[in-house]
Subunit: 221 residues, 2 copies
């Protein structure tokens, strides 16, 4: 139930069309949420029905007519309500982490390549975020802007995005180096996986009073 609020938050800085919104949410710049165009159009329609946003039609000379949306007072009230309610914890969902989790059972070559690719993507995002931050604070220094700037919300979320991508890059580079070193093969990848057993991955530590192994009989299937 939070896409709607993400949309409201994104519209706070001025009118946007569904299309512009989609750009903002799609490409890397979605540093606080992610969504596809179809979802956004659908959400805008719902928000408009409920009176939380309002749109005005803008006819253009050379391009298709578009509709620019802005947050209404009711929308602001709803955002206020949302902001005061409890947040659910954020969680990561990342293909690449799943693959690294399985790293010891899987061909290291392609994995290393993907981790390094991801490092490069992170680097690109870091550059982008830095540019955006510079633009937002205008001539001011960061501390100054954060103390006195008019609108710091987007700046703060962008800072989080920056730190996230820096963490990503650092971890990817280190991980790639480690996997490369462990992988006895050619410098550009290409290895057979070394199976390797043991050492529990997940903790499954005694939260309960240690179930003193109540297993008794085994029947299959």
């Amino acid at each position: 139930m939070a896409l709607r609020h993400a949309v409201l938050a994104a519209l706070l800085d001025g009118e946007l069309s569904g299309y512009q919104l989609a750009k903002a949410f799609d490409v890397g710049v979605a540093n606080f949420w992610h969504a596809l165009p179809q979802q956004l159009y659908a959400e805008l329609a719902k928000l408009e029905q409920e009176g939380l946003v309002a749109g005005r039609r803008v006819v253009q000379e050379t391009r298709p007519t578009k509709r620019l949306f802005h947050v209404t007072d009711a929308g602001l009230t709803e955002l206020e309500r949302f902001a005061a309610a409890a947040s659910k914890p954020s969680f990561i969902r990342d293909d690449l982490l799943v693959k690294v989790q399985a790293a010891d059972h899987v061909d290291a070559g392609p994995l290393i390549r993907q981790v390094e690719e991801r490092a490069a993507m992170a680097e690109a995002k870091i550059d982008l975020f830095r540019r955006i931050l510079r633009k937002m604070r205008g001539g001011l220094g960061e501390e100054e802007f954060l103390r006195a700037g008019r609108r710091v919300g987007p700046y703060l979320t962008c800072l989080r995005g920056l730190a996230f991508e820096e963490g990503n890059r650092d971890w990817c580079l280190r991980t790639a180096a480690i996997l490369r070193e462990r992988s006895p093969a050619a410098p550009d990848g290409r290895t057979a996986a070394v199976p390797g057993e043991g050492i529990a991955a997940m903790p499954r530590e005694g939260t309960a009073p240690a179930p003193r192994n109540p297993e008794v009989a085994h029947a299959e299937r």
Copy 2:
């Protein structure tokens, strides 16, 4: 289509029941994916049908009978295939970031409280991750373990989780401090929001050759 692979990856270190799997995926320890028990039971059933995992029934004295699952050869092959295929970029979805994005339009008090609460949660996870890492590497130093340890996949993903939570904590503390300083009110929160206009949040920079403002006429609704 990656929950299945997350399950396979989690089962690599030994048999788990749906329930145990749910624990691992639910509480903080899901440092590479997140899912609810119902999803996991459903996914296990599908995986079993497709022969990617196999379960054996374990009758227990005092507790309900459970089924322990392990990855089959076909499952390993599928993981291998997955690991070699392209990854989709990871994205963040976080309520709290949405709220901070709207920080300038919203009551600062509850927000600050939530950000600080999140910092504390991050701290707790940091402790947990550090304990897990220590346990995984046994007596060895980190570098040593990463060079020579048998199973580094889970260690590496846990390192990412640790760095993520450290980033979370640092950002939350800084953000809380900034919002507190900007908020003219009592030291424990309670402020009226300062509306404030301008400054574009999203970049919407000229990716296309600068649409030289083709707006012409406005009609409403």
